[in-house]
Symmetry: none
Subunit: 205 residues, 4 copies
DNA sequence: CATGAATGAGCCTTCATTCAT
DNA sequence: CATGAATGAAGGCTCATTCAT
């Protein structure tokens, strides 16, 4: 019994952090959930912070893994479909682990200046990817001219807020519908020919 | 000297909370900034939490004040211009008080479950207003059919994220350009005739 | 009431450290003796270590103050008498504050590598002073030739051990007799003319 | 391989205690050095304290073994040479095992009231031996009259401090020179005829 | 109004020791 | 003999809040 202890703590941590927030979460909460003594926690993590960071890092990885670069130059690829697939995978990651969604989108915010920086650089990465894609596509005449940086912030924010609100409400909804609603909102503002398969947001870096 | 003490604490609080976050802000930081003794703080606020809430409530008020209902039925009003004016006032409120922007968009997030609820209900209010407007406008044939709730989340998130990123970077930019970029991104997805003066987002409640 | 709190803690600390040693001394012991709450201690000292260091530093200062440089060149000074006076003042410092004697000679030893270094450099200072004095006096033909460094260690050790043993036993004895016994033991080994007033150990630096 | 485990722990303990002091030494340090698991330690020692005590006791034994009683009544024995030989053996014991020297002269001091008592009684034994010898010799007219107890403290302290300082500095020096310097310092203060072979410090108990 | 010394509940963390395998 | 995961008592330290002056 006792699946890998570390894994148990990660699961307990996700639940507790999501429920109480970072500062109100107690090491006692974790060990109580796992059913071990206090000291055991420190066998697997340096401190509360380490558990939190491991949790967030793991989820960030899952998210970046969900995003696959899209090859604009490959004529065999439908970039719009690829983009939609990317979005879908991200949305699914969130709805599959609502505790981690809550943690990334809320708990992790404002923990302290250090962690804020970490979060920022994660979103920076994603934003940079989108900026690159938009610029390439714009040069290729697939995307309407516009401020790529601000557009990227908008797109990220649009996704974050929607996921946060839905996850928080425990709303169950088909990820496809969500993605399509979001795409419907911005496609015409971004793409020259929104219905055209030759347009995309996320291109190869 | 010594403008209203309470006001001094509000200003000190804004600076400290923005810099250190809620949990790392110390009552000592406030009184040190104001230049009074520790006990004086409690003459003006019940506790640390009260200062934070006063600060956030004041800023929320400023934001809701910035949004003026738009009378769709009044033919003398250009609803698109009115919408743009609303957005502009909101953006200006954020860039004029970057500390409060940081606090509302980051510090206040994840403070604890209680405060999370308060934030949520604030955004709920705004979201509800947008939902109402979209529905009315959709019924009037001004807005393309779509999921009003999710669209509202998207619009709020788009604004929040962009403002957060820009304020955080200390980026100075013309609010008009920002608003226009955002409108350009979503107008075609929302309005039946985006260039048409008869379309709007925020209508009278 | 309540003489200077810091002073109270210093006195409590001396008693507790002397009785229980450094590691077994609890912050609770200090505050219990002073009759205040736990937190009060941290108003006056950063931590347990800081109290200990303040205590030791203060006593070290008292000791170095007790040693007055002796002017070998001044014919109006009886260097042997001056030396005896120095020793007497040192001995008196120890017997007057037996707790501090215990602390410097035992408690402070082996606390940790850091503190060991601090102690070492204190004795180094004293040793260096003696080495200088012996060398000068030897050059002046007042002292028998010999290894000044090792002699200094010997003299310091002789004093330390004797004081430690006596203080520990709570032995009450006339400091004069103690000093004379020690001088009687080493004078003939050091001075060319032990009974002669022109010889001394501690000279001006 | 693996010489006697217990012996391995003793060696590891000497190194670790000498380097880190008693309280900062961790059971983990011992087992890491020996290359076994944590629990193994407790197969050979009851606890950390037991290892320390075994170590110190072993070294104390080695020291008392180094001191051979001197028969004042035997005319065939040169007591001064015998005394010098005793001192030399003690000095050699220290310089041969510098870790144990550090431990006895520093680490073991101030560990706790219990251990202090143990140390004290060890030095008491030695002091008593010296007191006896001095008294006998004084009665025999070989030694100048003086306070035997204080003289003993002085002699022990002189030896301890010098050895500590030299061992700590890693100073390599001929034990003979050290012993001769020390003897030169005190012989004239102790012996009636310092150059005379009929005088000695350590006599038969 | 203002002060600032005092409070004390509360949480994190360490590490010697145990014991089932 | 050996292992090493688990234990849990123990203690340091913080800091929001109070209240006598």
């Amino acid at each position: 019994m006792a699946r890998d202890r570390r894994q148990q703590f990660l699961e307990a941590g996700a639940a507790v952090f999501a429920e109480k927030g970072y500062h109100d979460a107690r090491v006692d909460d974790f060990v109580a959930r796992v059913g071990v003594a206090r000291g055991t926690f420190y066998l697997y993590f340096d401190d509360k912070r380490a558990l939190f960071e491991a949790l967030v890092a793991r989820f960030m990885l899952r998210l970046t893994d969900a995003i696959e670069p899209i090859e604009l130059s490959d004529p065999g690829v439908d970039p719009i479909a690829a983009l939609r697939a990317n979005l879908l995978r991200v949305v699914v990651a969130f709805v599959e682990t609502p505790a981690m969604a809550k943690i990334l989108l809320s708990t992790a915010v404002g923990v302290d200046p250090d962690f804020d920086r970490r979060l920022l650089s994660f979103y920076e990465e994603i934003t940079a990817l989108i900026v690159r894609s938009l610029s390439q596509a714009e040069a290729a005449g697939l995307v309407r001219p516009g401020h790529a940086q601000i557009r990227s912030f908008c797109l990220v924010g649009l996704l974050k807020e929607t996921l946060y609100q839905l996850v928080l409400r425990g709303a169950t909804f088909p990820p496809e519908a969500l993605v399509d609603t979001m795409l419907d909102l911005v496609s015409r503002g971004i793409f020259v020919r929104p219905g055209d398969a030759s347009a995309t947001i996320v291109a190869a870096p």
